[in-house]
């Protein structure tokens, strides 16, 4: 057996056998946990379509929107959420004034915690210590609690107030319900409630 440097790698000796045994046992112990985590995540994987009601609480107006959500795995143990929202005009999406928004969020497990942090596809390796939250860098994270995928985004605004966006995607028998709130300095500015059905 040769490694890349051309030096021979010796097979494990008898003295290493107890260590290898211990490592094998550890691997066996850890495998079910990783599997459970993967199952926990994979329950959300799929494509969903549905409708939502948007309440603008500042001016007491309401809007209707079509939803298209895709939740899929990202790399080995991450999560990718893509969603398209279509702002309807009088319940229709084939008339002038209709708007379309498309967003994608990527999450990977946090290093030392039981939640996931958002990463940028262009800058996967940016150190979180570089983040200056008070200077306006947003922080985004997600977690799973029972049948709910919670996603939060937090930013300190220019004037020192904060904006918090809380997005809950709740698994149902037929699909996924959604609840979204945009909160500025403690006041709920916008609330979105909707339901979707799983298509795949």
């Amino acid at each position: 057996m040769m490694n890349q440097a051309g030096k021979a790698i010796r097979p494990p000796t008898a003295s290493l056998a107890p260590l290898l045994g211990l490592l094998t046992m550890l691997a066996l112990l850890l495998t079910p946990l990783k599997g459970a985590e993967a199952d926990n995540l994979s329950r959300f994987f799929g494509s969903y379509v549905g409708k939502a009601k948007v309440e603008n609480l500042k001016d007491s107006t309401e809007q209707e929107r079509d939803l298209d959500i895709v939740v899929s795995p990202y790399r080995q143990d991450g999560l990718k959420v893509e969603w398209v929202t279509v702002g309807l005009v009088d319940g229709r999406r084939d008339v002038p004034g209709v708007k379309r928004w498309s967003q994608t969020a990527l999450f990977r497990p946090a290093d030392d915690a039981d939640f996931m942090v958002e990463v940028s596809e262009n800058n996967l390796f940016k150190e979180r210590s570089d983040v200056q939250v008070v200077e306006g860098d947003p922080v985004r994270w997600t977690r799973i609690e029972d049948n709910i995928l919670h996603a939060c985004a937090f930013v300190v605004l220019d004037d020192g107030r904060y904006e918090l966006q809380v997005y809950q995607r709740i698994l149902t028998e037929t699909g996924m319900d959604i609840l979204f709130e945009r909160i500025v300095d403690g006041q709920v500015i916008r609330r979105v409630t909707g339901s979707t059905v799983r298509t795949t």
Binding site: A110, D112, A113, D114, F115, M116, V117, R128, S129, V131, Q132, V133, V134, E135, G136, V139, W141, T142, R143, E145, H150, C152, F154, V156, D158, D159, G160, R161, Y162, L164, D185, G186
Partner: protein, 179 residues
Amino acid sequence: MFLWFLVALSLTEAAAAASIDAFAGQWQGQQAETTEGTLDADKLSIDVTALSNGFEIAWHNLAQLHQGGGPDAALAARFARSNRQGVFELVPAGNSFIDRMFATPTTGNPLDGETLLWARLDEDTLAVYSLSIDQKGGFMLDHYSWTKTENGLNLRFRGQSEELGREVMIEGQLVPAGE
């Protein structure tokens, strides 16, 4: 033109400094109202010291007191001006006097398990915020705001705990200590 710029800049800085001065001193809690339960009004008391580049403040963790108190419910922090007008960053505690004079303001990253603390000052309101995220991703967000009134300060506190699934609101009045 440049002279006008300098005058405007010095006026702006003077106004900001004056605003901090308006909150400086010891303030005694007189009245407390909570969404549930009771809270000793004395725990609303604060002590604010104006500094050349910010301020120091001593106050109580009202969310913790509301949940039954604790030995570390008393809080103190020093804030320095950030690059944003009216926004202050936390200066880490525990440095020497010289270090503190020249310390670069730093902030905790809540995604790394640190508590993010910052403050905001506008014309008549001083606000202090804290955000922390627990091991499971639940957050705690506390927001204190003290607004100047004819007789003292009006406190509004909102504590939001996702883990506990509850929100605590506290309102109260503070007057200058000794009155």
